[in-house]
Symmetry: C2
Subunit: 397 residues, 2 copies
């Protein structure tokens, strides 16, 4: 059983803060400061260009990919780091479409993160040739998978509501109908148990700055099932995905396996922070994290519902369909979240009316939940949010 | 006149090293350590998610873009940071092609960096519809620009030879023939005087880890001419290029101007290092840097040619067509470079036989050149490279 008090001690948390926004940006692992400083000073500073070999920078995207792979049920050698999640969505979707060349429809749902939809829209417009994006309500996805669908592009856990799709079931349906399944694990990696190999996912993508605690703007990752890894064509065919990048050939020849999904020069300093964050993940298992997460979200839902009747739960009560966050709808949700933040409870707001709270067992425990509930009850019941200073909206929330 | 001894004092240089590889990875600016540590500890650690506003993370890609813009003759508000150079090449080329919808040929040259060619190859294959990539010898580019060319995609300075194209002349020819001009400034930004606005370039891209000293894997940048900025369609249409990213609309609406070229979450820690590096650029002008660079490369060429008859200069002698590096061909160039590195002179090798030396006035002066020449003469004339330990090739050079 994981010792979550031990993992909690490895993060920096500002005084007086209960941080329920690790689903947006994870906190600083204490060892990340030193790891980053070492990379900057002892590697970049002292090794200069030779750091690519000597310090292992060049191999880090696959080294760290394997460490993330363990958390999402991926086979060894199937995950590589790089770029941003939006770029990896593009790459996965473009490759997936080519594996199903006779179909023209990408299926997604309105609970997907908008950037995935925007990226698909942009890609399909570039491709022309009748490609279309079909967006249905999350509960209609399963029924919408039919023989016209080339690719299902679904985010497992809804960024707004915390609703979790049944990845195994939808993947099986996709395959039964001849579609390729692309999964976005933005709110899954480090949050819920994912078994990519087990469910037979074709492609998956995710980010590392949320539950994985890799730092602001940490790189994304992409998974390609072994059965596709040597045949998928990377539309973003950059030199580090080439079979022999340093031969500087004029024509592209993809590398074997997952390395072909590399594009350009990897972000060395950002990877140092992520590496430190992943050390903490070595102290636990996703089964333990998931059990603790459900305990925390159950406790939070019960506490808030017992004290704040004005907050309407939008996250599923059923464990099977709940991610690792709890969201409440409230018409003045933006102002209420600002008032909470002013009191040290940091969650976030998602338009139009969602107050979102993330639960991250590595550093949030039952006592934090109880303390947060008490503050939320006070802010809501005393209408502390109904003040002008909390109502002005900023661009970034 | 720039005080280059003052700028040199602001970099960390390992003992006993003469670093002539700043055209591959610039050295560590002393202030970058502290800037990165502050971003990690005082921003990520203390501000957590609120850093996006409070610490200005969200605006940094355009803030730093403007600072780079000054070095490449770009108008204010035309440059934004993000992703890697290969991704930005893809983005620029895809947008450029749509501005010229009736043509199907992309023109490039065999001196372009292979990743640009690979990226074009991948994009054109995705687009289908008869798109082709035409690759000619560098000296044939001008003659090859005709009414069939949709886009010229040219790297100004050849990564191998250091040959510099005439950007004004080729851009004018492209426009005269109705082509859109995309320039790659990988070996230009911080190396030579670039006047994007003056020459009327349509798009430009570049990286920040070479002459700009932003650190290993530092983000790339993209320039879009003001006349295209509100009409160019970003094929990589991510949420941070949306007109209202935090409205989470289901459909993509591009932001006005250069911000539409943003894709995903920006790399905050990497940008901190780059910001520190750009502070040093505020102490100089590109005219001063260029004058000094030519002085250094002239001195180096003269010194090596006077002492090492076996090294064949492949970099142009003519200032007009020379970048900020000097390359010599030598059949055992790989081994010779390893022998030089063992003696503290760090340059690099590019297949098949190029020994490459970069000159970076911010931290390399005439005395460094003279010291490097003396070591090169010794290594070459005493055949110190002709030893087994220098001949084994590593993958990364």
């Amino acid at each position: 059983m994981t010792d979550f008090s031990a993992t909690k001690a490895l993060f920096h948390m500002p005084e007086g803060v209960i941080y329920l926004d690790g689903n947006s940006l994870g906190p600083l692992p204490l060892s990340a400061s030193e790891r980053v400083a070492r990379t900057v000073e002892a590697e970049w500073g002292e090794m200069l260009i030779t750091g690519w070999n000597k310090a292992g920078w060049m191999a880090r995207p696959t080294d760290l990919g394997d460490r993330i792979g363990r958390l999402i049920g991926a086979e060894k050698g199937t995950v590589v780091l790089g770029d941003t999640l939006s770029i990896k969505v593009y790459q996965a979707l473009a490759s997936a479409l080519e594996l199903n060349p006779d179909r023209r429809v990408v299926l997604s749902d309105s609970g997907n993160f908008p950037s995935d939809l925007y990226i698909a829209e942009g890609l399909l417009k570039s491709l022309g040739r009748g490609y279309t994006l079909k967006v249905v309500a999350p509960e209609e996805v399963e029924a919408a998978i039919d023989e016209t669908i080339a690719v299902t592009m679904i985010t497992e856990v809804d960024y707004r509501t915390g609703r979790k799709h049944d990845m195994a079931r939808l993947t099986a349906k996709a395959h039964a109908k001849g579609a390729v399944a692309v999964w976005d694990l933005a709110h899954s990696a480090g949050a819920v148990e994912v078994d990519l190999a087990g469910v037979g996912a074709d492609f998956a993508v995710g980010c590392t700055y949320k539950y994985l605690n890799g730092g602001p703007g940490a790189p994304a990752f992409i998974y390609v099932a072994p059965r596709h890894a040597d045949s998928a064509r990377p539309a973003l065919s950059g030199w580090l995905g080439h079979d022999a990048p340093f031969a500087f050939e004029l024509n592209y020849r993809p590398h074997r396996g997952i390395e072909r999904m590399r594009v350009g020069t990897p972000p060395v300093i950002a990877m140092a922070a992520l590496e430190a964050a992943l050390d903490i993940w070595d102290m636990t298992t996703m089964a333990d994290v998931r059990a603790r997460s459900l305990e925390l979200t159950d406790r939070f839902i019960a506490g808030v519902e017992a004290t704040c009747p004005m907050l309407k739960l939008v996250t599923p009560r059923d464990h099977q369909t709940r991610g690792s966050q709890v969201s409440f709808a409230f018409p003045d949700g933006y102002a209420a979240m600002q008032a909470l933040i002013a009191r040290g409870v940091i969650g976030d707001f998602r338009a139009p009316d969602i107050m979102r709270f993330g639960f991250t067992p590595l550093y949030i425990g039952p006592q934090d939940v109880d303390a947060a509930v008490a503050i939320i009850a006070e802010v809501m019941n005393q209408r502390l949010w109904d003040r002008p200073e909390f109502k002005a909206r900023s661009r970034v929330t």
